[in-house]
Structure formats: C-alpha cells, structure tokens
C-alpha cells in the first residue's frame, strides 16, 4: 500500500481543523461537530499501529488546543490515550472491511471524549454530564464513525483495491 506522506497528513489535519472550526459551525449551527482530527489519528492507529497514531494524535490535539487557547494539552492527552488504546488492539483487527474500523473509531471517540471532558472538568470547566452522555458524546461518536468509514476507505481500502486491480491486469 502506498503510504501517506507527511505533506498529505499535514494537509489532511489542516482541512480537518478548518472543517471543525470554521465550516461545520456555520453550515450547521447548534449541531454537534464531529472530531475529524481525532478521527484521522484513530484511522492512522488502525492502519499503521500505535506509534504513528499516537504521534498524529498528539500533534492534532495540540493544534486543537492551540486554537482553543485554553486547557492546552487536554485534547492532545485525550487523543493520545485513545489512539494508544486503538493501537494496542490494532494487530488483532481485520482491516479489509469497513465495519471493524467504524466500530473502533466509534469506541475510540467515546473514550477520547470521556477523558477530555473529565480532564477539563477537573481543571474548572463546567460539564453538563447528562447532555454530555445523552447527546454530545453519542452524536460525536456517530459522526466520527461516518467520517472514519470514509477515511479508512480513502486511505486504506481504495489504494489496496487499485493495487490489486493493477496486479491482476498486469498478469
């Protein structure tokens, strides 16, 4: 499989941040925003394993925190922890379909959001836990599952299918 280079990853991260902070809140005001930055690092953890996933989660999380201007490191820590857990189960995962990555991204999102809310709550932010567990976290998980399916197909399945087709045609 042709791997993503650093430029592609940086560009992907930037687009994810732009969509999260400037596009979705304008197009869908009052809606829950998917965490595309985490989604990207979760998919990378599923494909590449713990190392790249955690590094990407740290960079993406720090960028999110820097744009927030507060609780610097909270997103990074939560993203890293979730990406690390995903990386632990990565060797046992069947990656050739979309169901496994979708389930893993959904579960990872729940872990990430729980860690993040707990951390910022510990440092003084008010969290409405009923809304958090009743609305925000489930919706972010669902939206991330959809985004995760697209990303997994785009980064992993599509290039493999193409490669397979190419090798069949060459034979």
């Amino acid at each position: 499989m042709k791997r993503l280079n650093r430029l592609h990853i940086a560009l992907g991260m930037f687009v994810a941040l732009l969509l999260q902070a400037a596009v979705f809140p304008v197009l869908f005001p009052r809606w829950v925003v998917p965490d595309l930055v985490f989604c990207f690092s979760a998919v990378m953890s599923i494909i590449e394993g713990t190392g790249p996933g955690v590094v990407l989660a740290a960079i993406g999380g720090l960028c999110q925190d820097a744009l927030s201007g507060t609780f610097m490191g909270a997103s990074a820590g939560a993203n890293m922890a979730a990406a690390w857990i995903i990386g632990l189960v990565e060797p046992q995962l069947f990656k050739e379909n979309l169901i496994t990555p979708v389930v893993i991204v959904g579960a990872g999102t729940v872990i990430r959001e729980v860690i993040y809310t707990f951390v910022i709550w510990s440092f003084g932010a008010g969290i409405d836990w009923a809304r958090a567990f009743g609305t925000v976290i489930p919706w972010v998980a669902v939206l991330n599952c959809c985004a995760g399916a697209l990303l997994h197909y785009w980064i992993y399945l599509r290039p493999r299918d193409r490669e397979r087709l190419r090798s069949v045609s060459s034979v």
Partner: protein, 283 residues
C-alpha cells in the same frame, strides 16, 4: 527477554508525558496575557484562512436556502419561475448586503454612542470542540486589544477576551460555564451573578446575591460594572424563569441572552469603555 526494559521505558515515557500534559493544562487553564510562539504562529496562519472558509460556508448556506426555495415553487409557470428565480437570487444578494449593512450600521452607531474607544472585529472561527464556548476574532494586540477586554454587540454582552496574538483574540462567551458576570436586575435593581450554563441550551444562570430579592420573569439583566471587566449598563439577557434554590432559602433564575451566539458575525471589543449602553439612561 527484551520486553522488560522496553516496557519499563514506555512506562517512564508515558509518565513523563502525563506529568508534562497536566502541568501544561494547569498553566493554560486560566486567562493568559501571553501565548507561546507556536500558538501565536498557528493562530495567525489559521485565522484568515478560517475566516475565508466561514465566508464560503455562509455563501453555500445561502445557496442551499436558495435551492430549497426553488424546489418549493416547482408548480409555478416555467417562465414566471425563471423570472422569479432570477429576482429571488438578486433579492437574496441584496438582502444579504442589506443585512450586513444594517448590522455594520448598528455596530457603528452603537460604537459612536459609547464614547470610549472600541474596535470592531469579525468572527474568524469557533472552538473546534463541542465543550467550550469561545470564538476567535480577527483583531488582536496590534489593534489595542488585551486580555480581559469586554466584547459586546448592539444587542448586549458577548464575552471577554482571554488571550491575544497580534491579529487574533480568543473571546470566551457569556454562555460558557467558565464565565461569570456581575449584573443588576434593571427593574428591581437587585444585584445578581450571571453565569454561563455551558450545556448547549444557550441560557444564563442568574443567581441573586441578596436573600431578599425580587427577580421576576421578563426582567432585563444588565451588567453592574462592579466586576471590573464589564462597564455598567450592557444587556446580559432577559429572565425567562425563576425557581427556588435547593433549600428554599435563595432563588435562582435563568435568562436568555439577546445576542444570538450561533449566528454571531461582528462584535465590538471595548478598549477604553466610558459608559454602558442603557445603564446610564435609566439613571
């Protein structure tokens, strides 16, 4: 055999990471006058692009409403519909320009009425997560803005600046759970504390400070000017409900801000506020 030292090293790295992150979060959880170079650089680069993306999104949104409106008029005569569509599109563009014009005029009139020094700014982007209610604006320390400055619109208080770079500022909105503003009930003159609920409802929690108070639904809550950040007389919101507190001793109320935070586009940062909007009027 090699697993043991490797896992030990991993534990040490993880522990160092956790300690570093906890320290970082602790030191950045409060308002900051100075941001790190990396934060400044990222925000300076991101802000204008995000502003452009927001503008494009708004265009797309208005195009979507236009397309929906086309769908609703399918039954009409083809020729008339074409004319109507053209006129509608023209009208939409004019309406958009008119609205922007109105908003900016209101802001300008409001700015002139304040007497003090104020800077008009546009919203660049919103907090990328779902938990914090803050926005970034396209003006910063180069325009005289510093941490702690109040941010308002003609409709009322928006929030306060928590951190600045040269060309951007972060504004924590009054609906955020970390926001607390001293207020006065415009009718009864009771002192209250107005806190953001931060639960997505967009409401404010109004806590009267005295035991003997007369806060009623429909009352307007304005800033008291006592906290040292917000000048007196800016509208915080309208009381929509009043309920007895936990033990029946105190009362607590909820207010709806007049500012529509979901559709906020332009704001005023009060650099050197002289007086409030309606507080002086009453006095």
């Amino acid at each position: 055999m090699n697993q043991q030292p490797l896992s030990k090293r991993r534990i040490v790295v993880a522990a160092i990471c956790i300690i570093l992150l906890v320290c970082l979060i602790y030191f950045t959880a409060k308002d900051r006058d100075r941001l790190s170079v990396a934060e400044k650089a990222l925000r300076e680069i991101f802000s204008p692009i995000a502003r452009g993306a927001s503008k494009v999104s708004r265009e797309i949104s208005s195009w979507a409403s236009y397309l929906i409106s086309i769908g609703e008029t399918k039954a009409e005569n083809e020729k008339l519909r074409e004319e109507l569509d053209a006129l509608r599109y023209e009208n939409l563009q004019m309406e958009e320009a008119l609205r922007e014009n109105e908003r900016l005029r209101d802001l300008l009139e409001f700015k002139e009425s304040l007497g003090g020094r104020a800077v008009a700014a546009r919203i660049s982007y919103r907090d990328p997560g779902n938990w914090l209610y803050s926005v970034a604006i396209d003006k910063g320390s180069d325009h005289g803005i510093s941490s702690g400055k109040p941010v308002v619109t003609a409709r009322g208080v928006v929030g306060r600046v928590t951190s600045v770079t040269r060309n951007t500022s972060t504004v924590i909105l009054t609906v955020d759970s970390r926001s607390a503003v001293g207020g006065i009930d415009f009718r009864s003159r009771d002192l209250v504390l107005v806190e953001g609920l931060g639960d997505g409802s967009g409401l404010l929690h109004v806590r009267p400070l005295g035991a003997d108070n007369d806060v009623q639904p429909g009352d307007i809550i304005i800033t008291s000017g006592l906290g040292g950040i917000y000048p007196k007389g800016y509208v915080l919101g309208d009381v929509i409900s009043v309920a007895p507190g936990k033990y029946g001793v105190s009362k607590s109320a909820f207010a709806r801000p007049r500012v529509d935070f979901d559709r906020l586009e332009e704001v005023l940062v009060l650099i050197d506020p002289i007086r409030g909007a309606i507080g002086e009027m009453q006095e």
